[in-house]
Amino acid sequence: MRFPAFLLLPILLLAAPSCYLGQATVDAPLDGAAIAQLEVGQSTANDVTRLLGAPNQVVELGTGSAWLYQAQNGKQMGIWLLVFGAFGQDTRSDRCWVFFNEAGTLTHVGTTLDADHAEYHLAGS
């Protein structure tokens, strides 16, 4: 007696009763073009606010301050095969720190735009 091929599809469907892809974002991605317009030694706190909006965080430093702009992107993937489940999660961020002196002039900028690189994966891939 040969295994009936038409049973393969329902068996496969039974074996994969749940699988999912999910994505969770926090805040809108940072605008690289707007960040590129910032000029160290020229831009003021007002210029930064006009280009990037209100910061997520303000840190008072000894002789100035630092503002953080941030957005996060998390991707999750999972599959459940009868009694075995595999799950993966990847979280990455866009971050931009801008540093001001006491006069409110931009002194340093540090940017990482990585949120778009979050991946769906199951196990170390």
Binding site: G62, L68, R92, G110
Partner: protein, 132 residues
């Protein structure tokens, strides 16, 4: 001789039925979790205490997770954090039909976030660093 005899069909049907019932009661899981990416090794190797300044550090390392005032001076501390964990686990649940059903969940999940801390002086020179 065929591989699928009536007795093997029956055995397969029993095992299949049991496996189909089990997911609600028991299972094994594997999870992998990544939070942020580590700074490039080449960028970290370029850091030199007393020489590297804040802007060149930001240019090569990108933006840190956290900035705060260095409590020991007039400088600041920059922190990068990242984590990659994998864990196996299992769960057993016994449905009793009442309001309370015993269950057991276990996973060998151990969180070991890695970090890089850089301390800069008030004039923006790298004073010291630590990694772990």
């Amino acid at each position: 001789m065929s591989a699928f005899t009536p007795s093997s069909w029956r055995r397969g049907a029993w095992i299949g039925s049991l496996l189909c019932l089990l997911p609600a009661c028991a299972g094994i899981s594997y999870e992998h979790r990544r939070v942020e990416q580590p700074p490039a090794e080449r960028a970290m190797a370029m850091l030199q205490v007393g020489t590297t300044d804040l802007q060149s550090c930001l240019d090569t390392m990108g933006a840190p997770m956290m900035v705060r005032k260095d409590e020991q001076g007039d400088g600041m501390e920059l922190l990068w954090l990242w984590e990659e964990t994998s864990a196996w686990g299992f769960f057993i649940s016994i449905p009793t039909g009442s309001d309370y059903s015993p269950s057991l969940n276990w996973a060998d999940r151990e969180r070991h976030p890695q970090f890089l801390r850089l301390f800069f002086s008030g004039d923006g020179k790298l004073l010291r660093l630590s990694r772990g």
